[in-house]
């Protein structure tokens, strides 16, 4: 499956929150097939940057272009997995997943199998451990045809084997012409990526 080649262009992007300038006139372009790690201390504005690029926050200044469309019109090309669980505790793993991905049962089961959650498909998510819940949320990556992935702390609560599986998935996504932005405080195990270091501007 090859994705449509897209560019993600960030121009003059600035953001101020609670009277603090988080980033100022940020500009970069990501070509199809690139991975960007956004690094920085706690509170440096990593999540704010990712959520702004994803279109969840109103852009205060500057622009985010997906291809040649502004992000507000191209959000369906983005897959965003944030801090929040993205799964509902009261629903079973499979029901949660059916809702999020909307594919047929075989590809859903394939995705759940890829993250090692197939044998739990009948369990309620609230009965699972945190890492297992995280695996369920990440299973969406196996069913997505969005070219741009924005993953905020995807490695949190994952064990070593799942980190390997996730790295492989991200690598194959960009090999197919996708783009991936992520944050992590752990030492990234991905082989090739660019880094953007956010620091307090003032």
């Amino acid at each position: 499956m090859n994705l449509e080649p897209l560019k993600l262009k960030i121009a003059r992007l600035s953001c101020e929150r609670d009277y603090r300038l988080l980033f100022d006139s940020l500009a970069f372009t990501l070509d199809a097939g690139s991975i960007l790690r956004v690094a920085g201390k706690n509170g440096a504005g990593k999540t704010t940057l990712l959520r702004t690029i994803a279109g969840l926050y109103e852009i205060q200044e500057g622009e985010v272009l997906v291809g040649d469309q502004p992000v507000s019109e191209a959000m369906h090309r983005i897959l965003y997995i944030g801090h929040r669980p993205q799964v509902t505790g009261d629903l079973s793993v499979l029901d949660n997943f059916k809702y999020m991905a909307g594919h047929d049962d075989t590809s859903l089961k394939f995705a759940l199998d890829s993250v090692g959650m197939l044998s739990y498909h009948d369990s309620l998510v609230k009965e699972l451990s945190q890492g297992q819940g995280r695996r369920c949320a990440l299973a969406r990556l196996w069913c997505s045809d969005a070219p741009i992935w924005i993953l905020d702390e995807p490695y949190t609560a994952l064990d070593v084997s799942m980190i390997k599986i996730l790295d492989k998935k991200i690598a194959s996504h960009v090999a197919n012409g996708g783009i991936c932005l992520f944050t992590t405080h752990q030492v990234p195990t991905l082989s090739e990526f660019q880094t953007l270091e956010l620091g307090c501007v003032n």
Binding site: Y80, R84, T88, L91, K98, Y99
Partner: protein, 224 residues
């Protein structure tokens, strides 16, 4: 499955997983109605006079009670922000969610209102008028309580606050509905008022989801 079907199916699964959300308001409604004769008067003539209004008010309160959960848990789980990534206008998806809420959480309240009417010895024709009024007016009330819930997503104790904000919007609906009930008791024409209520519901079903979607967007923009 299309996005629309997935959203509706999820509401069904959730309702099945959280039966308390459906049963609690019904329980509340029946409790209030059964307390009225004990607290006021067991005389069936006086009960018949105030009965339909009591059922209306109790239904309104029950509706407020269950609208609290409309968006809150989806918001804190991060499900609501995923709505923005679907290839559909947010207002349309919100409209679907409100429709599902009306079908699963409001319709049961309307369906048990005839039981309440019997408990308070409301005459048959008035009880039919009450039933129709509720069917026609509750879509508007559901929309307004949804707007209250969406506006207060970011705050704790949102239930009461949302109800307070939305109170002025409930007033015209309640006034019109009680007009229908008074006319039904007199035996005069109720259709014009019902038509007005219906127009109110249709207009709010079209316009309120847009306002709700804006409120949700603002609240997502202010959260992590």
């Amino acid at each position: 499955m299309s996005i629309e079907k997935r959203i509706l199916a999820r509401e069904l699964w959730l309702a099945a997983a959280r039966p308390g959300d459906i049963v609690k308001p019904i329980w509340f409604l029946l409790l209030v109605i059964s307390m009225v004769p004990l607290a006021l008067t067991p005389d069936s003539d006086s009960l018949a006079e105030i009965g339909s209004a009591m059922i209306w008010v109790a239904t309104l309160l029950a509706l407020l009670l269950n609208s609290e959960h409309l968006f809150q848990s989806d918001f804190s789980d991060g499900i609501l922000e995923q709505y923005l990534f679907f290839d559909r206008p947010l207002a349309w998806l919100v409209g679907l969610k409100l429709t599902a809420h009306w079908l699963l959480h409001v319709l049961p309240l309307i369906l048990i209102s005839p039981i309440g009417a019997v408990m308070l010895s409301v005459p048959g024709d008035v009880s039919i008028a009450l039933f129709i009024t509720m069917l026609v007016a509750t879509p508007a009330l559901t929309c307004f309580s949804g707007l209250g819930a969406a506006l207060t997503l970011g705050s704790s104790r949102s239930g009461i606050l949302g109800a307070l904000i939305m109170l002025p919007l409930f007033v015209p609906v309640v006034v019109l509905a009680s007009g229908v009930l008074v006319r039904a008791m007199d035996g005069s024409e109720t259709l014009p008022l019902l038509a007005l209520l219906g127009a109110f519901s249709v207009a709010s079903a079209i316009l309120v989801p847009i306002a709700v979607s804006l409120a949700i967007r603002v609240n997502i923009g202010g959260s992590n």
